[in-house]
Subunit: 388 residues, 2 copies
């Protein structure tokens, strides 16, 4: 077990109708709020109205910024920064899923920084402070509601980079599972794949002894596999959406991987796909992750065979470790297919002629990405070929 | 899944030698520290010296209060309160295990309250504020280093009551697994039983759908069973102590049971045993919990049979649910025995002639304790008889 520090200050308010209490929760914490979101659905559904009424009821001033899209754009972050500065905003409230939250976090950093906020994403500078961030979650999956990450697409240079910093951990996140009960099933499936990918990244560690985290991650993976199936079979059941929402938060809030390395190589690869082509991150991960697994399995067959026996419940008796590993990969693909997700870039209608460019961008200034197997340029291209 | 709020602000610093950095971590957070602990071991081992040197190095003033014993006493809390007030202490630093931490939390509340701190434990009053609390953990098990609980023994009235409040969640907890590597094996065994009991209390829920927490709790239980055995078989292995320490914290920091009820009936019963007789809480739980299981199993045989199949890995094929439940209870007892713990009050040399008194005190002003089965006076006495 490696040394670690851990703190996560996000206050979670989980339950029906809680978005209508946001004003009460922000009292004393915010004077002027930027409500940041994307899409007409939040307006049509009345969710936005309820939030605004609650802020007005608590006499908290606000301004809105619409326009968040999946793989949120740097240009909108710049616009948010100007609004925050001009309007003396002190709190950014994201309404939506990972994209709205990540965009809000980036705006919160940008508003408190005199340089170009993109410096944080390229690793040139480290954020020192940010406006406070809050969340009303409507799409479960990304886990950004209780994480220290923000991932932004620089649409001019076609780059998608992330930053991790304690200054952008949300102050408060409102989780009302009812808000995601009307989402289309393909967004739910994408969310499930996203959650699983966050657990997989943590599971494929290089840390030799990490007993309690291994068991917790296996438990979480089994839960998510179970919840995904249940929600597809009974899409009106509040409890399953509640489970999905909470598992997404737990998968990415840092509590299940203390004292061990994680991988994140396949996330870096997927980011370059969704930077170029507007595929949701979860759908991209469902394609890239099994390809990554295939490519790296021989690095540690024990880990893959444990995934087979402990998570997919394949009996170990009559198989070699390699056979078990292959079955774990096959089960992963089968599960994504069961959710209605595509298993290859071609079937997802993602062009496959820019693998070298993607590899260069995934690497950025590094020679390698990932930890379970350190991937160089050729490795990344090979994984993209397997995902083809 | 039930509605819930969740926040846990404790900063965890996990790693070798970190107690020697306590001064650095407290800089800006404490002017005068009360170092609160018990036993000569902390002095002889040099642990206390390292903490004091670190505070001195950071020019943080301090005063010490020795005298914590297992099942920490109210009288010492009163003494701590006087010291804090007289010496203008603004930070209470617990050095030790659950007893030192719980005593420190009680002192922190008492110092900021004009009435009798015992009011909080009887439920007459609710704590509104407390001095800041920090921890250098030396005995893993209680999980108080990242919890909102404090349990204190009123030795005049022979009562042992607890209070839960966000105001006593520690600001910082230093977890250095090396500090518990010299503990005698019976204290390690008691800690393992304590951790398991915290997971059991959460597992035996009345909440109908709680998928992700069920899987996480099962994972945590399997991990603790595994870690307990590994540490007994290889008591010099740093990694196993690290796993034990972190699993104790995770088991009780509130992250594994959001949105579901827990039971805590057997904790209430055990507290009355250790209030009267100085048995450590973990040893008491290893006796009381299997008796509780035996008594309540028919309330929900599904839950007990799931414990058998998912945690103890008993094949479900050839057994009835009742048989599986009985095997889960038997396996629990067998595990505690394997750790060298006693399985009955008699073998632990605890007198068995005050069950009625214990039942009355466990109930206090309530008619029932516990949730999985609501236990009245007769139920409590019956469980104590089974534990005899």
């Amino acid at each position: 077990m490696d040394n670690f520090n851990f703190i996560n200050k996000t206050k979670i308010v989980f339950g029906k109708g809680e978005e209508s209490n946001i004003g009460k929760y922000l009292q004393g914490h915010a004077k002027k709020v930027l409500i940041h979101y994307g899409g007409g659905y939040l307006e049509e559904s009345g969710i936005l109205d309820r939030i605004i009424q609650s802020l007005e009821g608590s006499k908290i001033d606000y301004i809105t910024l619409d326009g968040v899209v999946p793989n949120p754009r740097l240009s909108l972050v710049y616009r948010g920064r100007e609004i925050c500065r001009d309007e003396k905003v002190d709190f950014v409230l994201a309404v939506g899923g990972g994209s709205a939250i990540d965009s809000s976090k980036a705006i919160a950093m940008a508003a408190e920084y005199d340089g170009d906020v993109w410096d944080f994403f390229t690793g040139m500078e480290e954020p020192q402070k940010a406006l406070k961030v809050g969340v009303v979650l409507t799409i479960p999956g990304a886990g950004s509601e209780m994480s220290e990450s923000s991932i932004i697409t620089n649409e001019v240079d076609n780059l998608k980079y992330g930053v991790d910093s304690p200054v952008i951990v949300p102050e408060i996140s409102i989780l009302n599972p009812e808000l995601c009960m009307t989402l289309p099933s393909n967004l739910i499936a994408s969310g499930v794949a996203d959650i699983l990918s966050h657990l997989f990244e943590r599971y494929f560690t290089t840390t030799k002894t990490s007993i309690v985290n291994d068991y917790l991650l296996e438990g979480a993976m089994r839960a998510v596999l179970d919840i995904g199936r249940k929600i597809m079979g009974d899409p009106k059941n509040y409890n399953y959406y509640a489970e999905l929402m909470w598992s997404a938060t737990m998968a990415h809030n840092g509590s299940l991987d203390r004292g061990r390395t994680s991988d994140w190589g396949s996330h870096r690869i997927e980011h370059e796909i969704s930077a170029l082509y507007d595929i949701t991150h979860g759908k991209g991960m469902a394609i890239v992750f099994p390809a990554w697994m295939e490519y790296v399995k021989n690095e540690n067959l024990d880990r893959f065979s444990r995934l087979a026996t402990e998570v997919f419940k394949i009996s170990s008796h009559s198989f070699t470790k390699l056979e078990l590993a292959d079955q774990a990969i096959e089960e992963t693909r089968r599960y994504f297919k069961e959710l209605g997700l595509e298993l290859s870039l071609t079937s997802a209608k993602v062009p496959t002629d820019k693998f070298e460019d993607m590899a260069d961008k995934a690497l950025g200034k590094s020679k390698f990405i990932g930890r379970f197997k350190r991937l160089n340029r050729e490795d990344i291209i090979s994984i993209l070929q397997l995902a083809k």
